[in-house]
Symmetry: C2
Subunit: 256 residues, 2 copies
Amino acid sequence: MLLAYHFTNQHSPFILQSQKSIEVCYTPAQYELYRGGYDVIVVIDVLRATSAMTTALHYGVEKIIPVASVSEAEAYKAKGFTVGAERDGQVVEGFDFGNSPYVYIDQDMRGKTIVLTTTNGTKAIDIAKNDGQVVIGCLNNLDYLCDWLIKQHKNTLILASGWKDKVNLEDTICAGAIVDQLLDSKKFIASEDSTVAAKFLFKSAQNNLWSFLRASSHRRRLIHLKIQKDVKYCLTLNTVPCIPILRDGALVKLHE
Amino acid sequence: MLLAYHFTNQHSPFILQSQKSIEVCYTPAQYELYRGGYDVIVVIDVLRATSAMTTALHYGVEKIIPVASVSEAEAYKAKGFTVGAERDGQVVEGFDFGNSPYVYIDQDMRGKTIVLTTTNGTKAIDIAKNDGQVVIGCLNNLDYLCDWLIKQHKNTLILASGWKDKVNLEDTICAGAIVDQLLDSKKFIASEDSTVAAKFLFKSAQNNLWSFLRASSHRRRLIHLKIQKDVKYCLTLNTVPCIPILRDGALVKLHE
């Protein structure tokens, strides 16, 4: 990777340090253009899949098996698994729950293995799972995740789930917030315009994040699904100190 | 289209007015997700194809035939046409010029028909040409184009050319500048997150546009191609009051 000198302290003013890449891909549809060369892939689906996954593992769910299709989810259900399925913001018929984070803050969920399929988020996990270490990001675990990423210091791609292959604002802003912290550490460098744009979007939204992001959910009519409480939960920063990490096809809580 | 009430003046405080769509697609690769329902499609490739096209027609080139591939360009050359071809920022071997706007500010170009293929811009024109009225946008014709689009008052899609199917900053910011003016007119409405993000990017770059955009060209190493003069030309607002419009497969100057 690129080499850069950094001024550190008066005793050893220059340390030759290897900078790692931090880049952002806005949607799974664009992933082929970014694939390769990343050791860590952070999947984001702020409304609501990755917020729900992070919440679930933090509050005691043992394991989440993300699956891309409803038919895979049905197959697991037939085998007796506890299965959630969401499409277009709603629970799929025949399933008991979708991607509301509140579902997982429940005594009954503790220690369980959950199977989950969602409109955008599980698709993003599926396409990236063989290309690097997949971890889960959201606004709820923002600072905790950034600290870990900086400590890892590996080439990192943020894969936003978007909305049906189009860019969405809340994932891009969450990605921009991560980029901002990683660039601030001076241990990372960004070279894609998508990454720089995400950072600038976060910066311009930073002081008014809630109304900025709520407008996005309004535009996608999520608000009509009576999930205002979920939206507010998902758009709140740093409430859940937990990083879901993909191991052997299942998300588990990272223990450091 | 959507209907909205607007407060206009004290004599007729409310006028029921039909608002038209203004949306932004960041790259040709995402065009399929946006295709359909747009009467006007504005193709943007700020560095440098659409800036060059606008300049050419303003300074007297009669007609530009955009072609998507180098082989098509070669076929025209064999027939005796004046042909430009650019790939990766450089003139393709065997051709006399590429997409530098300065090439077209030349007495010898007046009255001519030019055939042109470029890395990103002509591809964008090609995929949109049958879906609506294609016109050409850039920073050089920004206000002039916006005035015309507002006067037309039709459902409008801005198709940014991007950089090899990835989003690029200068096209997105130019798109955001157009969106900003059209929304300000109150005659248009935006509902895609890509459109809102482009507008916010423009707003955050607005006061420092030159250094913001120059950084983008640096990252793409255009600066190493010794085209600094071109980059500066293309990033300068409102220098060329001309709108190229696609008619019968060729771009001509719009005469109002």
